[in-house]
């Protein structure tokens, strides 16, 4: 007996699923979004905005105000000081802060909105965001989503859009980088793999719908789709329930073969590390020197490209012979790359490639500190000063400035490492706090939520039988879209491609 009339579903689950359906469809359409609107990190005040038809629920469920009938409830657009509480546990006070209530349409997005002005700091903000996500029909906003809603509700015209477009631009760019950050590692591949598996399952289901009546297709396509879905659902559940993904990324492991012999590193080696709470990709490139062979030449080419793309560059010099090391680098890069990258534009000034690299985002590290008797940063810099000052347009004019951009370390004795890591962490933090970039922990949280929704859809799929094959396809589509939001890929053509490559369709 085939299992097409699956009796697997437990009846209680069925009711639960119906409830989920209601939750999902009843309001998923106009669901409520929330986000931290001030820049993340330590700050005096953090503002969390909530927008949506049920934004008022926050006032009812997360403030102590409405329990006390003597105190008047919130007056629109008037600041109210109140306790902010955990909606699940009324006695768990998360913070005391200012709450503002903007009933729609007189609000930024045109919907009902609530603003929570709370104390800055990751713990408080994190707790409140987590509490918000437990409310029904609430989810974290996508980058730019507030503006988008404002736009749809006729709250912005294109003039205003122009003003905020830079911001959204930055947000989306940062978002893309963020996505890429995780990508380089295991995660993106893993998610993409899941998505392509779902698409494979979809191809089976869609082929049943569009072709099975007239074609001689295999008869077990539905079962194949179920198997695929079952497998990835398990994998995804395992993934979201433990933190292995995190561990992989933050593990301090040996990623590169290091050796004092020049020319050892040829390929670009990349690893992702956590600096001051932000994800950063570190690329180790081939040293720039006169290459001995073709492989190394290619490695150097790659190094140049990477250096141009990077946000922060670190130039590692040999402190035992600083002068020679620097001169060699300087001359070689000039000789090698001037013909290839004749003039790169930087603030209107024509610069050579090597000059371009020495901008304010470039930092110096003097390695092999153990080789010299008395590592004196000041002296080392002095020896370079004549060379550096000889160049126009460099940012090393001010000596003190330079001092903050240099570190002396020793790979052998590991001395100076902590200073260096701290210093770079500060740089990264400063850089990212300036931009509107979303901190890694928020991105991760949103991704986790998206994956969970995808899992829900897959579970509903598993509970249906072949008589609901169209609904099955719909669930798979929604699951794939949710994963696509994490990896940044959504296209439907994939499914047809998959069908035609797998099945012989042709009547």
């Amino acid at each position: 007996m085939n299992n097409i009339w699956k009796s697997s579903f437990q009846t209680t689950e069925r009711i639960f699923k119906c409830k989920f359906h209601q939750t999902r469809f009843g309001l998923a359409a106009n669901d409520n979004i929330f986000a931290l609107s001030t820049s993340p990190g330590k700050a005096g005040i953090a503002v969390i905005r909530i927008s949506g038809t049920q934004a008022r629920n926050v006032l009812d469920l997360m403030t102590a105000r409405n329990q006390n009938i003597k105190k008047p409830s919130f007056i629109p657009r008037k600041a109210t000081l109140t306790k902010i509480i955990n909606p699940i546990d009324k006695f768990d006070v998360l913070d005391i802060g200012i709450v503002l209530w903007f009933p729609g349409p007189s609000s930024y997005t045109g919907e009902d909105m609530v603003e929570l002005h709370v104390h800055g700091g990751n713990a408080v903000v994190g707790n409140i965001l987590e509490s918000l996500s437990t409310l029904e029909h609430y989810r974290m906003a996508e980058p730019g989503e507030f503006s988008q809603r404002a736009f749809y509700n006729n709250k912005l015209d294109l003039t205003e859009i122009e003003g905020i477009s830079d911001l959204i631009n930055a947000e989306t760019k940062a978002q893309r980088k963020q996505a890429l950050n995780q990508a380089q590692g295991v995660l993106r591949n893993l998610y993409e793999q899941w998505r392509s598996q779902i698409i494979k399952a979809m191809a089976n289901i869609e082929a049943i719908i569009d072709f099975s009546e007239e074609e001689s297709l295999e008869t077990n396509m539905y079962e194949i789709a179920c198997e695929i879905v079952q497998k990835i659902t398990n994998e995804m559940k395992l993934h979201t329930s433990d933190d292995r993904g995190e561990l992989v990324r933050n593990a301090k492991r040996k990623v590169a073969i290091v050796s004092p012999t020049p020319g050892t590193t040829r390929d670009v080696l990349e690893t992702s590390i956590n600096l001051a709470g932000f994800q950063a990709i570190v690329s180790d490139t081939a040293g720039i020197r006169k290459a001995k062979n073709d492989i190394e030449k290619q490695g150097i080419q790659l190094a140049i490209q990477k250096a141009l793309d990077a946000d922060i560059r670190i130039l590692v010099l040999d402190s035992s012979d600083l002068d020679k090391s620097f001169t060699k680098w300087w001359e070689t890069s000039k000789k090698l790359f001037e013909p290839i990258y004749p003039k790169l534009q930087n603030n209107g000034n024509a610069l050579g490639f090597h000059e371009f690299l020495l901008d304010k985002n470039t930092f110096l590290v003097f390695n092999k500190a153990d080789k010299i008797v008395n590592p004196n940063m000041y002296e080392m810099l002095m020896s370079l000063e004549s060379k550096i000052n000889g160049q126009k347009n460099l940012h090393y004019k001010n000596f003190d400035d330079v001092l903050n951009k240099c570190w002396s370390i020793s790979c052998t004795t590991e001395s100076g490492f902590q200073n260096w890591v701290d210093g770079i962490s500060q740089v990264v933090k400063k850089k990212l706090e300036d931009s509107a970039m979303e901190p890694a922990y928020l991105t991760r949280e949103r991704h986790r939520q998206l994956l969970n929704v995808a899992i829900k859809h897959l579970e509903i799929f598993m509970d249906m039988d072949e008589t609901r094959v169209v609904e099955c396809a719909e669930e798979l589509r929604m699951a794939a879209n949710n994963i696509g939001k994490v990896t940044g890929r959504v296209d439907t053509q994939d499914v047809l491609d998959e069908i035609f490559s797998q099945f012989c369709i042709g009547k």
Binding site: M1, I4, W5, S7, T11, T12, R14, I15, C18, H21, Q22, R24, F25, G26, A28, A29, G144, Y152, N153, N154, D157, L158, T159, I161, E162, S165, I168, N169, T172, K173, R176, E206, I208, I209, D210, F211, S212, E213, E214, S216, T219, D465, T467, R468, V469, V470, E471, A473, R477, D491, T492, Q493, V495, L496, I499, F500, C504, I505, G506, K507
Partner: protein
């Protein structure tokens, strides 16, 4: 320059209110209970209703003159650039010389051409159809069938806009079947085998009766087009023209030869249109005759717009084995000149191939050995105006057979005998020739062949073997056919052949199928890179209606978007994504397929088409509103009936227990053998029955009373419509008094209720994006912040709205915002 209109276009009004406003006569018996349950706050099937109801009662001429009427134009996403002023100079001059100036000329009398000509004539444009052979109008040149999964929905949509093909199939169909019966109403595929001869004669009869339409036989050599005289001083050569500025405008066609015109019977049909002696010069036949005489001398026919529907005739070339000669269909000449002048205008042309199988003599086939496939006992008509089909009691049988390894090895050893397969021209992946199937899926040892009758025995003695289109030499075709089961003595009447033809890159078109290069030029059908009768007809009705509206110069367009129907998906895919293989519809291509179903095409499109004058049959609108009212009534009685768990259990279990005593029968279900208990149209397996019972028991546990409507929506009463219907009938009194069609449509809506709510919101967002217009003449390079790849993508598509820009694959949100910003600046 670009105002954003975000005024709500969706009207969430209870259909009852509409009905009152429109003063349709409602049966007072059915008063609706508006008491809402937790679900009933949204009526998801009401947004397509017309918010301006008084309007449609006006005669069309008055409607056109009402300037304020802007319902659908608001969300149109392509702006017609009307160069009418420009060409009018030329045309006025010609008119003063006594030439007939047509509103619309349609080139080609295939499925696209017929629908285009008829649609243009229906919206009120004076239309001329020119075709190479009057006898071939309505010819089904490939398979003798209409519809299928996805395609069937297209036919229903064409019919909902008063198109011809659905009605004609109902009159000429010899076997009707709904495909995907077991997979849910969202993907039902109505399909019919038609009698070619009856189809053709019924079609010719129908178009002869179409007012405003004249038909001429002749061959077109070129189109007449001229530089857009906006700036008389600037001398723009044809080469310098670009897509951004519609520099050209059409004013007619050039003909090689014209021989005769078709005697129309349309003038006497409508008393208002009756031609007296003095206005005889406006009669269709008079105009056709005059045009014919002028064109025989002048070789030119003038018109305000032209629709090209040349099918495979554009640069067509037939392949049989290694033979290869220019032709559109077997025995008919290709049109070569047109192809050259489209190239000259700067259109990007591509080349595609398709094929058709050999035709077999029915009497030489041994059907006794083969498995038959029968039509539905109660055939479902395509047309919303029909309640049944003409030959319902006289349906023919199709037969199934298979190729075998012997056939495969014969063909594989003769691959070098076919030029079709060796070339790099793109053929479809989903309907490949037998050669390609054998080549690509060498592990499969057998492929299905459907033997489809081409008509009643008195009309045709041919059989169409669906599934084995090929281009092998004739002798090999005959040889391999005789290796197939049941075809041992078969006589091949006509060999299969391949056709290679030119198509225009459909990204040259707007969503109204108006070319971006030449104002007034429209294209539909295979020339746009699609394949299939239904796809051609669907584009034909859109192109024809829009050409008509363009020529009438009333500032309106007929645009069907992805949420309106599969026609919208078809056109949107063509004009934004382009084609890489002959395009056909699949339900998988539609993101809103749970909404754009075959059963509700009238709800989605009839009102819209009626507002533009495209639906001339007033009874369609009456029927539509009657149907809406009935569906609401059916819903309301389910909503009124609440039931407590114990009586639910009692009623349903009683029924199930009775079923369990029935002896199960072995049945075929999607290729699997199952023993099923069958009651009416519903089949259960024992396991499934048990399962259903458990579900119903579990509902009872919370002791809550529920309405029957809620039970249906929660899927507790089963998953197929027939099954739900059976159970609802046990729970709701008077249920079976409602006609089955109404019950079916009502339950279909409720079965997908949660999904439809979700899709409704997706559709709203999609339409908002589609409302935001972007100019299409931007130099994307100037935006600066876009990557080279993004600029290239934008240059190809030239999105006319934000929605289209967003749908471009590989365009980042940042790029879209930059685009918006640039447009503002």
């Amino acid at each position: 320059m670009n105002r954003i209109t975000t005024s709500p276009i969706r009207i969430k009004t209870n259909s009852l209110c509409i009905a009152k406003k429109t003063s349709f006569n409602f049966n007072s018996k059915n008063t609706f209970n508006k008491k809402s349950t937790q679900f009933s706050t949204l009526s998801h099937n009401s947004w397509y209703l017309n918010p301006n109801p008084g309007f449609k009662n006006l005669p069309r001429t008055q409607r056109n003159s009402q300037n304020g009427y802007q319902l659908y134009t608001d969300r149109f996403y392509s702006t017609p650039i009307n160069n009418y002023d420009h060409v009018s100079k030329i045309l006025q001059e010609k008119e003063s010389l006594g030439f007939v100036i047509w509103d619309v000329i349609v080139i080609g009398g295939g499925h696209a051409g017929i629908e285009a000509a008829s649609a243009a004539a229906r919206v009120g444009a004076k239309t001329l159809l020119i075709t190479t052979n009057l006898e071939k109008i309505g010819e089904m040149s490939c398979n003798p069938s209409f519809g299928g999964v996805g395609k069937g929905i297209l036919v229903r949509e064409v019919d909902a806009m008063d198109g011809l093909c659905g009605r004609i199939v109902d009159k000429s169909g010899v076997q009707f079947r709904i495909l995907n019966k077991s997979k849910g109403p969202a993907v039902y595929g109505p399909r019919a085998q038609a009698d070619r001869v009856i189809y053709k004669s019924e079609m010719q009869k129908a178009i002869k009766e179409q007012p405003n339409l004249s038909i001429i036989e002749g061959s077109v050599s070129d189109i007449l087009w001229d530089k857009f005289d906006k700036d008389a001083n600037s001398q723009i050569s044809k080469e310098e023209s670009n897509v951004e500025n519609k520099n050209y405008s059409i004013y007619g066609i050039k003909v090689d030869s014209v021989s005769k015109f078709m005697e129309m019977e349309n003038h006497s049909r409508n008393s208002a249109n009756q031609y007296t002696d003095e206005n005889k010069q406006y009669s269709e036949n008079y105009l056709a005759e005059k045009t014919l005489k002028d064109a025989q001398v002048n070789k030119k026919i003038y018109s305000k717009s032209v629709v090209i529907t040349t099918g495979t005739f554009l640069g067509g070339e037939i392949h049989i084995g290694l033979k290869c000669y220019p032709a559109g269909r077997i025995g008919e000449d290709a049109s070569i000149g047109l192809s050259a002048s489209l190239k000259e205008a700067g259109f990007k042309l591509g080349r595609m191939k398709t094929g058709t199988p050999p035709r077999l003599l029915a009497s030489s086939i041994n059907f006794n050995k083969l498995e038959g496939q029968f039509g539905d006992k109660i055939p479902s008509p395509f047309s919303f105006t029909h309640d049944s089909v003409k030959f319902a009691d006289n349906q023919l049988v199709c037969y199934k057979t298979r190729t075998n390894e012997q056939v495969h090895s014969l063909i594989a050893s003769n691959f070098d005998q076919s030029i079709h397969i060796r070339e790099t021209i793109r053929g479809p992946r989903y309907c490949p020739s037998l050669e390609s199937k054998i080549k690509r899926f060498s592990s499969k040892t057998s492929h299905l062949i459907w033997l489809e009758p081409e008509g009643f025995p008195e009309n045709s003695n041919l059989v169409y073997p669906n599934g084995i289109s090929n281009t092998m030499p004739e002798d090999i075709q005959q040889k391999f056919l005789r290796m197939v089961d049941g075809l041992e003595d078969v006589e091949m009447v006509q060999p299969g052949y391949g056709v290679e033809y030119d198509h225009v890159d459909p990204r040259e078109l707007t969503h109204s199928l108006h070319t971006k290069r030449i104002s007034g030029l429209f294209m539909a059908g295979q020339i746009n890179g699609s394949t299939g009768y239904e796809e051609a007809a669907a584009q034909g009705i859109i192109a024809g209606a829009n050409a008509g509206l363009f020529s009438l110069n009333i500032g309106k367009e007929l645009l069907v978007d992805r949420a309106d129907g599969h026609i919208g998906v078809l056109i949107d895919d063509l004009v934004t994504k382009g084609v890489f293989e002959p395009y056909r519809v699949f339900t998988a291509q539609s993101e809103y397929r749970l909404f754009t179903r075959s059963d509700n095409a009238d709800l989605r499109l009839t009102q819209k088409a009626y507002d533009l004058g495209l639906v001339t049959d007033k009874s369609r609108i009456d029927k539509l509103y009657q149907m809406i009212k009935n569906i609401e009534y059916a819903k309301s009685i389910m909503e009124k009936t609440t039931i407590n768990p114990s009586s639910l259990q009692q009623k349903v279990n009683e029924f199930f227990n009775r079923l369990l005593s029935v002896q199960p029968i072995l049945n075929d279900y999607n290729g699997k053998k199952l023993s099923l208990i069958t009651v009416g149209d519903v089949s259960y397996s024992a396991e499934q029955l048990d399962n259903r019972r458990k579900v119903i028991e579990s509902v009872g546990k919370d002791g809550q009373k529920r309405t029957v409507l809620d039970l249906v929506r929660m899927g507790i009463l089963g998953s197929t419509i027939e099954e739900i219907d059976l159970l609802v009938a046990r729970l709701v009194d008077q249920w079976e008094e409602i006609p089955y069609k109404v019950r079916f449509r009502c339950l279909t809506n409720e079965k997908y209720y949660f999904y439809l709510i979700k899709q409704e919101s997706e559709i709203n967002i999609y339409r908002k994006d589609m409302q935001l217009k972007l100019p299409i003449d931007i130099d994307y390079k100037l935006i600066g912040s876009l990557s080279k790849e993004e600029v290239e993508k934008l240059q190809i598509v030239r999105p006319s709205t934000l929605g289209i820009a967003k749908s471009i694959d590989g365009l980042t949100p940042a790029a879209v915002i930059s685009l918006l910003k640039y447009v503002k600046a």
